[in-house]
């Protein structure tokens, strides 16, 4: 049941990411709704973090993006894995774990994309990429993080009231 809900959420987030989010831009950056839904879902108290959900998110985004599927699978998979590790080993404070996971995930996905574009003979100035895309995207992600976390938290409670598995 939980997995099914997670997949539906990721699918909905991907659709919004393709249709709505590109229109909400800060400089050249736009929020990464799929990443936010993925990480907030993974870090809910009642959910068990699973990096494989990141792989699924990568496949979904890869279907809609011109970037190679493997790159996005690796990006979102690594973001989910880092979130899992942060949650498990370093901190047990949910909000700080969430914030650091979003920062790490955003940087991972974007640095991998930037590296791919450099290797594919389509270089983008790192300064431009950082100032115009990565930082604005990070800021938008952090702005969107709290409302999305609240929504996912409410949804999780609705699915399993009083913490029933």
């Amino acid at each position: 049941m939980r997995t099914l809900v997670a997949l539906l959420l990721l699918l909905g987030a991907t659709l919004l990411q393709v249709t709505l989010l590109p229109r909400v831009r800060l400089l050249q950056g736009s929020g990464d709704l799929v990443l936010l839904v993925l990480l907030t879902w993974m870090l809910q108290e009642d959910n068990r973090p699973d990096w494989r959900l990141g792989v699924v998110a990568g496949v979904m985004v890869g279907y809609a993006s011109a970037l190679p599927d493997l790159l996005l699978i690796a990006g979102y998979g690594l973001a989910a894995f880092s979130c899992q590790q942060l949650n498990k080993r370093i901190w047990k404070m949910p909000l700080i774990t969430l914030l650091s996971s979003v920062i790490a995930g955003t940087l991972l996905v974007h640095v991998l994309t930037l590296g791919y574009l450099w290797l594919s003979d389509n270089p983008i100035s790192p300064a431009d990429a950082f100032n115009l895309i990565i930082l604005p995207t990070l800021l938008l992600n952090l702005i969107l993080l709290l409302p999305i976390n609240a929504l996912i938290s409410e949804l999780t409670k609705t699915i399993s009231p009083s913490g029933t598995p």
């Binding site: 393709v18 249709t19 590109p22 011109a66 983008i124 115009l132």
Partner: protein, 279 residues
């Protein structure tokens, strides 16, 4: 005999009196008298009517409120429906104007065959400037076909599925378009960028470019057909020590409001890769 005559006199007197009263009434001389007699009756009638009306309203009020509420709800529903219809019609008008402009564009270039497509999404990565359209190989769309709007060049198809296709916009950092600037007839290579700004590099220093000059596709390289409007020069940068000059180009197409595009389906892009590999 005498009583009979008296009766006749009385009758005549009555007729004369009646005729006199009638004449006085017709002449309006008796109106104050009638009004004085009738006004109290009207007063009583009005008093009775208002009391009766008040009692009737008091008895029928709940029924009226219920019917008024029902009528109000019905009118609200009708109003909402009409508002929806207005919005729908406004959208249809906008779409009709857009299609009309696209039709004008297509009629102006009868040598090309077009397939219209709606924009259904954009690439989720902010590094890339791609759109997704709702026409694919089932509709005759093939890789490499140029995409235009009524304003000018949009890009080219780079990936096709059965029902959808991905279009690389000319603003994408990986996009390069051979262009010709009018009226100076200078050729150049237009490139996109991360910021979606368009620029022409490697323009000879002796070329006389001015802001406002129009930029068209040149057709060189065989990727795009010639003479499609791309935009106009917005800024020219000449540096004394540089070997070439550069120019910024303002695109003719507003990519943020792209809804419907035309794909030129009878254009066959040239595949130069074998020649490039031989080098």
């Amino acid at each position: 005999m005498r009583p009979s005559r008296n009766n006749n006199y009385q009758l005549l007197a009555l007729i004369a009196a009646a005729a006199g009263i009638l004449l006085l009434a017709l002449g309006g001389y008796l109106s104050p008298l009638f009004n004085g007699a009738i006004d109290p009756i009207y007063g009583v009638q009005g008093w009775l009517y208002t009391r009766f009306q008040a009692i009737q309203d008091f008895i029928n009020a709940p029924v009226n409120i219920a019917s008024l509420r029902a009528e109000n709800a019905q009118l609200r529903a009708e109003n909402a429906q009409l508002q929806t219809e207005i919005v729908t019609l406004q959208q249809q008008v906008t779409e009709g104007e857009l299609l009309s402009a696209l039709l004008d564009f297509a009629r102006a270039r009868p040598e090309n065959a077009y397939q219209a497509a709606g924009v259904i999404g954009q690439d989720p990565s902010p590094f890339l400037h791609y759109i997704i359209i709702n026409r694919g190989s089932d509709d005759g769309i093939r890789r490499g076909m140029p995409v235009v709007s009524q304003q000018g060049l949009v890009g080219r198809v780079v990936q096709v599925t059965a029902t959808a296709a991905r279009v690389e916009l000319i603003t994408d950092p990986g996009s390069q378009v051979s262009v010709r600037v009018q009226p100076s007839e200078v050729d150049g290579l237009l490139s996109g960028s991360v910021t979606a700004q368009l620029g022409i590099d490697l323009i000879p220093l002796d070329a006389n470019l001015q802001p406002g000059d129009l930029v068209f596709t040149s057709g060189i390289g065989g990727v795009y057909p010639s003479n499609i409007l791309v935009g106009q020069i917005s800024n020219v940068r000449r540096e004394a020590t540089a070997l070439f000059q550069t120019a910024s180009v303002q695109s003719a197409v507003d990519f943020s409001r792209l809804e419907i595009v035309l794909i030129i389906v009878n254009f066959q892009p040239l595949d130069l890769s074998p020649l490039l590999n031989n080098e």
